[in-house]
């Protein structure tokens, strides 16, 4: 079983660079916990021993965007906060993914109001939407697994020629 069994006689394996990089990438997705409101509590639960996000290599929540691959936007995003969320997203290194966790981030949720952005896809490229108010930790883990599937299909050339950040956008 496992890789060791294959390698016990000075063995070697053949694969493609794309496959091995995608495998490495998807096995350690470091999330940026953008916990803005109540969804953040469920996000914390997902990382605790009961639900254990570490099983999927995503337990390392970094509180600096510069060390993260995945932004979990967990909570109601107001128009004022949208500028901040975007600024943090812009600081994450490529390649990067976004989970819109919960009803508020996906669609504005119950806040059908002048101050709440009706869905963060108005200013962020969202990869996975998560239903629930707030979503159960299993649901967030499912979202992370969906991201992993998405990453496993990527190829190195997908991330070439990504245009440099528009300076205007970075400045907000």
């Amino acid at each position: 079983m496992g890789l060791e069994a294959k390698l016990n006689k000075d063995g070697f394996i053949t694969t493609t660079i794309d496959a091995i990089i995608a495998w490495a990438r998807k096995s350690s997705v470091w999330p940026m916990p953008m916990g803005i409101s109540c969804c953040a509590i469920e996000m914390i639960s997902a990382a605790d021993p009961k639900y254990d996000l570490a099983r999927f290599g995503s337990e390392v929540m970094r509180f600096t965007p510069r060390q993260c691959d995945l932004m979990i936007v967990a909570g109601t995003v107001t128009y004022k906060m949208a500028q901040v969320v975007r600024r943090i997203y812009d600081q994450m290194p490529e390649p990067k993914w976004v989970i819109a966790m919960g009803a508020c981030t996906s669609s504005g949720g119950m806040y059908r109001s002048y101050n709440v952005v009706q869905g963060i896809d108005q200013f962020l490229p969202v990869d996975v939407y998560t239903a629930g108010c707030p979503p159960r930790p299993e649901n967030l883990i499912n979202a992370v697994m969906t991201i992993q599937q998405k990453i496993s299909k990527t190829k190195a050339r997908d991330f070439q020629d990504i245009p440099l950040l528009d300076l205007e956008t970075a400045k907000n």
Binding site: Y79, K80, A82, Q83, R86, R112, S113, Y114, N115, V117, Q122, F123, L124, P125, L165, D166, E168, T169, N172
Partner: protein, 164 residues
């Protein structure tokens, strides 16, 4: 004499012609006063040794929408001397919607007045720092006015540009 009666009597003696109305509903005393006298009355209520309303708990406003005197500014103040709450109200008759700031009396009213300005567009004259409280700078409207749509005004709040 009850503290409540003392408050009414003292106010009536001091501001006989400026007190428009005194109501006492379910032990909740409120005094409607002419808006020109608001700072004077606040100063009196705070500094009078028998009353000592030293704490300003809240400043807010009401938008009556269809009434001629459209806005009412409401102050909730508190006397620690007798554990007593008093509500002062002042009607704004006409544009420009403005009233004298009470920050010179209660410095704690500073942010309450900023919030009221942000939400209702009532200008507090002589306020030391009258900026918006919740809405972003540069926002043109005042959301708690009755003529403001619940879903807001399209494109009045900027979002970051979309990439990809």
């Amino acid at each position: 004499m009850l503290f409540k009666e003392l408050v009414i009597e003292k106010l009536k003696n001091q501001f006989s012609d400026s007190i428009v109305e005194v109501t006492d509903f379910r032990d909740d005393l409120s005094v409607l006063i002419k808006k020109e006298k608001i700072v004077e009355a606040a100063m009196f209520l705070k500094n009078d040794t028998d009353l000592q309303f030293t704490m300003c708990k809240d400043v807010t406003a009401i938008d009556w929408a269809t009434r001629k005197k459209r806005f009412t500014v409401v102050y909730h103040i508190f006397s620690l001397k007798d554990n007593f709450n008093l509500r002062i109200k002042a009607n704004l008759d006409d544009e420009p919607w403005q009233i004298e700031s009470v920050t010179s009396v209660w410095p704690g009213a500073n942010w309450y007045e900023r919030e009221t300005y942000d939400m209702y567009g009532i200008v507090f004259v002589n306020h030391p720092d009258l900026r918006r409280m919740y809405m972003p700078e540069g926002f043109q409207y005042h959301p708690l006015r009755k003529d403001f749509p619940v879903l807001g005004i399209p494109d009045s709040l900027p979002l970051p540009k979309v990439i990809k």
